[in-house]
């Protein structure tokens, strides 16, 4: 039989793979193929590739990218066949010609939370949520992608690396270089994305790791023993400028147009203390999703204005 998938166009080069556009020969369904060249790296198959396969082979959810196939080609290269998703949320946020209605934002946030909820109930941390990794299907569905940093939750005495999540979306416990953390790191990132959707600019754009700490706490207040017990024992908790927590009216001024329920949800997700931060269930059941307007139906969501 002819090759199962055709590769038509090279669209990008990731850290460990070349990405092609192509089609499933039999159905002409468009797909994306990550081709991993064999024997190219000093340390063999990249860990990100292993993670991506490990988690996406098992996760099946409308709001998570589908891994369609894994195959080795005749030439001995490993290929990951993924669902083809032409746009991402970052492109939309940056496209100034598009207006977001409150229903649009609610719809994207809802789909993000549903995807994250599915990961978390399978005990998987994504660890790299950002608008750039939230891909959009032509039908408007949002899907979590890039599981190259994902890992499953382990026993509490195991040390984890704090060097995860793209800087602007990094939770305070990661900024303090804690070696123990939970699903809460993903929810912080969702909170920052929520703010970004409302503001249309990155909410906490630190220039470097040090600046990120300053930017984060300037906006949300510096955590203290009072609202986060034992925070001062974390490795990187030192020389901090103490900023007060923002008052509600300050937040209202910053997020004009946000309803009280929207601010409640955002503050729940951006709670400094990970132990008190909202989990996906609490977020999904929050008043924000119950009040009007309804989340926009995915097909009616704004699309990129110009074809890239």
């Amino acid at each position: 039989m002819p090759p199962l998938y055709t590769k038509s166009k090279k669209v990008g080069e990731g850290t460990y793979a070349v990405v092609y556009l192509g089609h499933h020969t039999a159905t002409q369904r468009p797909i994306a193929i990550k081709e991993i060249k064999a024997g190219q790296f000093k340390d063999g198959l990249d860990m990100s590739a292993i993670r991506e396969m490990k988690y996406l082979q098992e996760l099946r959810h409308l709001n998570i990218i589908e891994l369609v196939d894994v195959f080795s080609s005749q030439e001995g290269d490993l290929n990951l066949v993924l669902e083809y998703l032409p746009a991402d949320l970052e492109m939309l946020i940056k496209d100034r010609s598009i207006l977001f209605s409150p229903g649009d934002i609610k719809s994207w946030l809802l789909m993000t939370l549903r995807g994250v909820h599915h990961c978390h109930r399978n005990h998987i941390l994504h660890r790299d949520l950002k608008p750039n990794n939230l891909l959009l299907s032509p039908q408007g569905e949002l899907k979590l992608a890039d599981f190259g940093l994902a890992r499953s939750l382990t026993s509490p005495n195991e040390l984890l690396t704090h060097n995860v999540v793209t800087r602007w979306y990094r939770a305070p416990e990661l900024l303090f270089e804690s070696r123990h953390y939970t699903e809460a790191v993903d929810l912080w990132a969702v909170g920052v994305i929520f703010a970004e959707l409302m503001l249309r600019v990155p909410y906490l754009p630190g220039r470097d790791d040090l600046d990120q700490i300053d930017v984060t706490f300037q906006a949300l207040g510096t955590p203290t023993e009072e609202n986060w017990s034992n925070v001062s024992s974390l490795p990187n908790y030192n020389d901090l400028k103490i900023y007060p927590e923002p008052t509600r009216s300050e937040l209202r001024k910053r997020f004009i147009g946000a309803t009280e329920a929207a601010l409640d949800l955002m503050c729940g997700l951006l709670c400094l203390n990970p132990a008190n931060r909202w989990d996906t269930e609490r977020a999904l059941l929050s008043g924000y999703f119950k009040e009007s307007p309804d989340p926009t139906v995915p097909v009616d969501l704004p699309k990129l204005s110009k074809k890239e």
């Binding site: 024997g39 063999g44 198959l45 860990m47 080795s72 490993l78």
Partner: protein
Amino acid sequence: MVEIPTGPKGKLPQRLTQIKNKESTTSTTSLSTPNSRIRSPITPSVDISTVTNDTAQKTETPTNGNMASSSTEKQEAQITSTIQLSRPFLTRQQIKFARSKTIENPAIYNQRLLQLHQYLLKICHSFKFPMRVLEGSMYYYQRFYLHNKFEKTALINPLDVGITCLFIVSKNEDTIKKLRDLLILFNQTRGVTLSAEQFENYRKRILSIEFQILETIGFDFRTYHSEEFLIKYNKLLKVDKETSYISWLILCDTYQTDVSLKYPPHIIAICCIILNNKLSDSSLKLTTDYQRLRCEEKLVNECLQDILTHYVESFKITGLALKFPDYQIKFVHIKMEFNESKPQMMFHVDEKQKQQQHQDLEKDQFFQERDFTTGERRYMLENQKKRLYAEVDK
């Protein structure tokens, strides 16, 4: 439905029946073998089978070896495509059958396995790897030799396969070390010195073995940790820490055996606890409520028998023997007692069933020699089985 490009007309029905057959054999065997084992919620149930999804060429050609060359000659644009479903647990019969094809001399194989275990154990200690890395490495290693030839003439050194398994597991378990460092320590451990050039070649060889191992395990990176269950069950059964230590030692010794190929991790864990209970003189009340622990009793007994056999036959090389050299006789007694009381609580196969099973195995393409060099080789977990049959069953 997906449209499947078909081969020459008239050949398709033959292929269909083959696959149908396989489906039915799968379901019949699963009634009488551990395939029907009850699993813990985190261990997804798994099934099997390799299905060849190409034109009828494959069914026509007598051996797999000829298949490759003939198909490339006939049609250049055509590609042989095979699908491999992952199958992480196998029955005793299946393992025996697979090994009969790959291993000529079981004695040498076992000797190498134990030698490797020693080396990898040392490396795990040096790098402070958790024990589950050793568990996983031994699991991958043994899986590898179900489908690849283990002989003096084989091109790959078994020890190299072993260290590569450890390398893959260390990535999968998020305890990655640089391959270079791993190989330097491995060579030190076994007293091998290589020149810089030789070392570079060695590293490259390891990387090519890595890919072959990954294909053999079908890119299935799910992990099975008996240790987690051991700790949880011990807590649940209120075994104190000191006593439970022995069950942990037993668990570590199971890494020298092939129980991880046959039984899911919670079964292995409960077996270690049962054995510990029998070894300790304190008559600890063990409520073996198998239902609640989701352990099937027949499966537990089969696993117990395997572990007991290992202790009776190879006590001296086990880790437990280092701490409790006088336990050997205890194991002999436990095994005798077990043989008297338990056999009726195990899986029974009469001669006729055995023959049927053997025939099924002969037909099962999962156990055919694998070709990792030609065609498109697709890999799936069993959660895609529905899709697979939809594609093939057209």
